[in-house]
């Protein structure tokens, strides 16, 4: 058997191409590693500084007072955050879904484009500006309250939920809509009974991500519910309530190391909440998809 007239081994330009391929591959892997490392570093550093101060008292007591306190916890800060985010979700979720339905299903295309642009712009408004806006409208006349805070958070959440919902609604194949319409079902009922249920998983994810986002908002709350930070033991949304983020803010401002370690602990709690929420959303979505036999 004689030698073939050509060879398939890498030579010259081919070799350079292979090197470039391998180089780019290594670079991309490195970037991914970096991204994951950042998350790991944040989690580890907050965890290591905050986890130590966690104890039962931390979760069951209200804020400590005075100089070098022994106990004190974030119970009412957690309560306050839950109330703030909860009410904000109650406002933003139905509104966001309705806006998305309008934009994707019902509006003529020009109006839809305008609405989408408005949502995008709202998304870009600095949250502190939103805080000032709500302050002017609500707080100036009626005083601070968690409700005002919720409204501000809802304004932040709205474009997130609306856009996520719209994307998922558009993903529902038109064949599903046609099937319903062809039976003699009206457009509105088709949307409610066929399109939205199909998109539920995506709506859920969008909402959860929006929750994770606003759970960490601090700036707008400064104007709207900061007064509660000084150890209000309350859950009434019409009063200013504590918030985990504001507690972190105010504690970390203090010189007393006892307070500072509590700030780390609170930050750790907040971070865990956000991580847990995001993971839970992803799992729920996966299970929902499987149920649909998707």
């Amino acid at each position: 058997m004689s030698e073939p007239a050509f060879t398939l081994k890498a030579t010259g330009r081919l070799r350079r191409r292979q090197l470039v391929n391998q180089g780019m591959g290594a670079l991309a892997a490195g970037a991914a590693l970096l991204a994951v490392s950042v998350l790991a570093i944040v989690v580890i550093s907050v965890g290591s500084r905050g986890a130590g101060s966690l104890n039962l008292a931390f979760f069951t007591q209200n804020q400590a007072q005075g100089f070098n306190p022994k106990g004190g916890g974030v119970l009412f800060a957690i309560v306050g955050s839950l109330v703030l985010v909860g009410i904000a979700t109650l406002i933003a979720l139905p509104l966001g879904v309705l806006v998305a339905i309008y934009v994707s299903e019902l509006a003529p295309s020009r109006l839809a484009r305008i609405a989408r642009m408005a949502l995008d712009i709202t998304n870009g408004i600095p949250t502190i500006v939103i805080g000032i806006f709500v302050f002017t409208i609500l707080v100036a006349a009626h005083g601070q309250s968690a409700l005002a805070g919720s409204i501000a958070l809802a304004i932040i959440m709205l474009p997130l939920i609306a856009r996520a919902t719209e994307e998922v609604l558009l993903l529902v194949p038109s064949s599903q809509r046609e099937a319903s319409l062809a039976l003699g079902v009206s457009r509105w009922r088709t949307t409610v009974q066929v399109v939205v249920p199909s998109a539920l998983g995506g709506i859920l994810t969008g909402t959860t991500l929006a929750i994770a986002r606003v759970a960490g908002e601090t700036a707008p709350l400064l104007f709207l519910t900061y007064l509660g930070t000084s150890s209000t033991a309350d859950a009434n949304p019409l009063h200013p309530l504590q918030s985990l983020t504001l507690v972190i803010f105010s504690y970390s401002d203090q010189a007393d190391p006892a307070y500072q370690s509590k700030a780390w602990a609170a930050a750790f709690v907040l971070m865990c909440f956000v991580l847990f929420t995001s993971l839970a959303a992803k799992l729920a979505l996966a299970r929902y998809r499987k149920k649909l036999g998707g």
Binding site: Q176, E178, A179, S180, L181, L183, G184, L292
Partner: protein, 279 residues
């Protein structure tokens, strides 16, 4: 020497649909459909007869699906669509003022090319229309009746709560048929109902159509003319007309009993299409 009379003589009369004696369910007069300024189909004059299977054949782009969708006002969903001429359903102008498209679609159902069951259980798929349209009495019975009529009952009766998406393609299409006939329409439109299915499922659907013909008027669009030959009583051939300014539009070339279309068509264009020469 007495003659032998056979049962053949009796069935001879049953075989050919006596078209002239049947009622027209749809009457199209000078119907033309436009998308914006583009004319998609032109000058359609035909009657669709009760409890017959009418097939619409023709090359791609000839407007078969467009015509089909005018029959149940599904073209309304296309913002730029408009039409001229008249389309009457049992004497009523389908596009006249005060006619509710939703009501029209209740009476004129549709089965689509790709099976599109809802992402819910088999039972819920069939019950969907019944629940929304207020036909909730004896729901279980109605669902069973529809599934039986679609020749699907025996295959699914023990797993009605299972997801519809677990069925095979042919079964899903029959489920869509069951869903459509559950709400008791008068007409069922089929838009290339078997083009996404394998030959055995196609055969099953064709046999099913022969059964459904007893109770419903069927109109089917198909690009497979052999299917039209096997299944339809009447066949309409839409040809493609290219006008001097390059505008392509579909025109009704010939509409007759299927037997005539496939053994001795009147128009040369029809002959050219069914023999596969061109079109």
């Amino acid at each position: 020497m007495e003659a032998i009379k056979t049962k053949i003589e009796v069935t001879e009369k049953e075989r050919l649909p006596v078209v002239s004696e049947r009622e027209a369910v749809f009457e199209a007069r000078d119907l033309a459909v436009y998308y914006g300024d583009q004319r998609a189909i032109d000058g359609v004059n035909l009657d669709i007869y009760q409890r017959l299977i009418t097939a619409i054949i023709g090359p791609s782009g000839c407007g078969k699906s467009t015509f089909l969708r005018t029959l149940n006002r599904m073209n309304d969903l296309v913002p730029t669509a408009s039409l001229t001429g008249q389309l009457r359903y049992r004497g009523i102008d389908l596009y006249g003022p005060g006619v509710d498209a939703v009501e029209v679609r209740r009476r004129v159902g549709m089965v689509f090319q790709k099976p599109n069951p809802f992402h819910s259980s088999i039972y819920d798929n069939v019950a969907y229309g019944l629940r929304i349209l207020g036909m909730k009495r004896d729901l279980g019975e109605r669902v069973e009746k529809a599934l039986r009529a679609a020749a699907l009952w025996d295959e699914v009766k023990d797993r009605l709560k299972d997801s519809a998406l677990g069925l095979s393609g042919g079964q899903q299409q029959r489920l869509c048929i069951a869903r459509a006939i559950a709400v008791e329409p008068e007409v069922v439109l089929f838009d290339e109902p078997a083009s996404a299915l394998d030959p055995i499922s196609t055969s099953a659907i064709e046999d099913l159509m022969h059964e459904l013909k007893r109770d419903y008027t069927l109109v089917i669009v198909t690009h497979n003319m052999q299917q039209a030959a096997r299944v339809a009583d009447m066949t309409a051939f839409f040809g493609l007309d290219v006008s001097p300014d390059g505008n392509r539009q579909g025109v009704l070339v010939e509409y007759d009993e299927t037997e005539k279309i496939f053994t001795n068509p009147s128009d040369k264009r029809t002959e050219g299409y069914v023999t596969g020469r061109f079109g």
